[in-house]
């Protein structure tokens, strides 16, 4: 058997000599591999992006709907409390448990924006600040009110005129300074604002949140009033235990962990506010419990356990639905790529059969000079592998170039929306390596039968060809 170096030299010579044949054979493989890598990278990119928005190893436990209330679109929350959270925390495969608590009473938000006073009934909830520890706003998303407890209050008020420090507000009930309540909103909310609200009212769209905050003049300008216990809907505050009061909040930015529609604040604030306006039960009942599992494989068993053992259920996961759709679409495109590459492999086989026929005399000569059947097989398979390698690399380059072009076009022509990812493609090393292996493998497959035919050719008859 020839040494790899000699084989490579001989194959190289043949490749240069048969450039046209090589190019024709490689063309289909280039297209197929480019499509394969392009669609796989696109699917992985989109999948990663979707799962970042809707993680599928993260589920949300909610109370089951009751028939009457459920028909009104509301959910019973009676069963979600610390005892349930503790049980969930002890279950196998559970990595983290994060209870969420809705603001269960009316609140009115007021925000001055572009000389427009925006008033809206606030929907919101609270989460544990540790849940956001790994996010950019994590350091500022704290329960400042709890931290202020026991410390001397800073006085403020109109007379004598005393101002609070930056990011603080004056509570007019007792003329003391308090840190503004940190708030986060979801990308979805900003998206709704951009596509629905801003458009219809002629307001500017919000692109990157960080830029938006800087444009506004920093975090100190990102404040909004929250009138707790107040609402624009009449006669809905009669059962509240406390009088309306005004607090101030500061909008820190966007988080995927924020409530989809509304604002999210540290859970301590919501507990205190719910106790103040509705009593102890409202302050100890969660609207949902977010559960981070060890992996997506845990979702099924966990859902079953939650339903059977706790009488609760999981919120429908959009991530799971998206992932399934992406999987099916990816499968479809991969099937197309597979068909292209298969047809190309058949084309390669056809071309190589022609080559074997045209090069009979050469095959006979090589046999006369001492090439064994294995050597001849190696030469033809080497040529096929070289086509696969070159076509794979070119296909890879074509896929990456097309992906880059698509990203550039998307950046240029799509509006700068918070949902838009930095890249739609994930050109992972294993996708590129897989494409290359796939390419070489299919070319070898296409070259196999012609190589066998060439190896089995009787040297004397091959040499006799005119």
């Amino acid at each position: 058997m020839m040494s790899p170096g000699r084989l490579a030299r001989l194959v190289g010579h043949n490749a240069i000599r048969n450039r046209r044949h090589f190019a024709l054979s490689a063309f289909g493989i280039v297209v197929g591999i480019a499509a394969f890598i392009f669609f796989l990278a696109l699917s992985m990119g989109v999948r990663g992006w979707v799962l970042e928005l809707f993680p599928i190893d993260q589920v949300e436990v909610i109370a089951p709907r009751t028939s009457l209330i459920g028909s009104l679109g509301m959910e019973s929350q009676a069963d979600l409390n610390d005892a349930v959270a503790a049980k969930i925390r002890e279950h196998d495969g559970v990595r983290a448990v994060v209870p969420r608590m809705s603001i269960a009473f009316p609140a009115l938000g007021v925000w001055w924006y572009q000389d427009t006073k925006l008033k809206f009934d606030v929907v919101g909830d609270g989460i544990n600040p540790t849940y956001l520890a790994d996010e950019p706003q994590g350091a500022l998303f704290r329960d400042y009110e709890a931290e202020e407890k026991g410390k001397p209050a800073v006085q403020c008020g109109p007379a004598p005129k005393l101002f609070c420090p930056d990011l603080n507000y004056c509570d007019t009930r007792n003329n003391t300074c308090h840190h503004r309540v940190p708030m986060l909103v979801s990308r979805k909310l900003v998206e709704i604002y951009n596509t629905q609200f801003a458009k219809s009212r002629g307001l500017p769209v919000i692109g990157a949140m960080e830029e938006f905050i800087v444009q506004r003049g920093g975090l100190s300008k990102m404040r909004l009033h929250l009138d707790l216990g107040a609402t624009m809907i009449e006669a809905t505050t009669s059962t509240l235990r406390g009088p309306p009061r005004r607090i101030e909040g500061v909008l820190l930015g966007i988080s995927d962990k924020a409530i989809p529609i509304g604002v999210t604040v540290p859970i301590g604030y919501v507990e205190r506010w719910n106790r103040e306006y509705l009593g102890d039960e409202a302050a100890s009942t969660y609207s949902s419990i977010v559960v981070q599992l060890d992996g997506k494989d845990q979702v099924g068993p966990f859902a079953s356990w939650v339903e059977k053992q706790l009488g609760l259920r999981l919120q429908d996961s959009q991530g799971q639905q998206f992932a399934t759709v992406i999987f099916v679409v990816t499968l479809f495109f991969l099937l197309i790529s597979f068909c292209i590459v298969t047809i190309s492999a058949i084309n390669i086989a056809h071309n190589f059969f022609m080559q074997v026929s045209e090069r009979r005399r050469e095959i006979g000569l090589l046999r006369a000079l001492g090439a064994s059947q294995a050597d001849i097989r190696g030469v033809f398979l080497g040529e096929a592998a070289l086509i696969g390698l070159v076509a794979g690399v070119v296909g890879m380059g074509a896929a990456v170039a097309t992906g880059t072009a698509v990203n550039l076009l998307a950046r240029q022509f799509l509006p700068d929306l918070p949902f838009q990812p930095a890249s739609f493609f994930a050109f992972e090393w294993w996708i590129l390596a897989g494409g290359l292996v796939f390419s070489v493998l299919f070319c070898l497959l296409g070259g196999f039968l012609p190589a066998r035919k060439a190896a089995r050719m009787a040297p004397a008859q091959a040499l006799a060809q005119q």
């Binding site: 000569l365 001492g370 090439a371 294995a374 004397a460």
Partner: protein, 246 residues
């Protein structure tokens, strides 16, 4: 008649070969027996289609005999596997063809060292192969044409390159199929002189298929073939072969 030796370079015993099948089956060799001793120059002569080229191919392991025994340089073709036969052709047998069979996409030197591609081991590696290639090109008087393409050479020069290629691994047996069949008289004479020189200086055994008198006249022994049988000195097919075919 050559002297019988216990270890001849070529030994054929009752070799039969036919092409085609059924009613279209055409016998090409009919019970050929032959021995060639080391250092001999043997010319195989006969009409076209007499079976001389087939005989040469069988000796070179390029074709299989249907029956009979073939032993070349001590290798019994009946038991040798493809790898062993390939190694024999690569290291101990050289071939020279009527139509030169040079690869036009390679220069002369690359053509000459082509057998090194299939050698189990090459002395001195690629550099050593190139040095030996230059040496054999020098031997045939074509040093200056080492980097020319075969298409740029004359017929005689092409055949000299082909001979250099055949000599690359210093073979013990040189099998030549109509080596002057495609050359003019003068060039043919030069090639014949080269063969004579190779035989005299290197002791290489030559088996030359030819139908040209000027080639056969230089051979130490002439074997005539007709209708697949070796003829004796009187132009009659060997009695044994005739008896067997009867």
């Amino acid at each position: 008649m050559a002297i019988q030796s216990p270890n001849p370079v070529v030994r054929l015993r009752d070799v039969h070969k036919a092409y085609g099948s059924g009613a279209g089956r055409t016998p090409v060799l009919r019970g050929v027996s032959l021995e060639v001793q080391s250092g001999e120059v043997v010319a195989l002569v006969g009409q076209s289609g007499s079976g001389k080229s087939t005989l040469l191919n069988i000796v070179g392991g390029l074709d299989d005999a249907d029956s009979g025994g073939v032993e070349v340089l001590g290798v019994d073709y009946a038991v040798a596997r493809d790898a062993a036969l390939s190694r024999l052709r690569n290291e101990r047998i050289g071939f020279v063809f009527q139509f030169f069979n040079l690869l036009d996409h390679m220069d002369c030197l690359a053509n000459v060292i082509l057998p090194a591609s299939f050698a189990r081991e090459t002395r001195g590696g690629p550099r050593g192969a190139i040095e030996r290639g230059r040496a054999v090109l020098d031997r045939v008087g074509l040093t200056e044409l080492a980097h020319r393409r075969p298409s740029e050479l004359s017929g005689g020069q092409k055949q000299r390159v082909a001979i250099a290629r055949a000599l690359f691994h210093s073979p013990e047996l040189l099998l030549c199929d109509e080596p002057t069949g495609n050359l003019d008289t003068d060039t043919g004479r030069e090639v014949i002189e080269l063969f004579t020189d190779i035989n005299r200086k290197d002791g290489v055994t030559l088996l030359i298929v030819t139908h040209e008198e000027r080639v056969s006249s230089t051979a130490g022994r002439v074997i005539r073939i007709s209708d697949g049988c070796i003829l004796d000195g009187d132009g009659q097919a060997e009695a044994r072969a005739e008896e067997r075919s009867a």
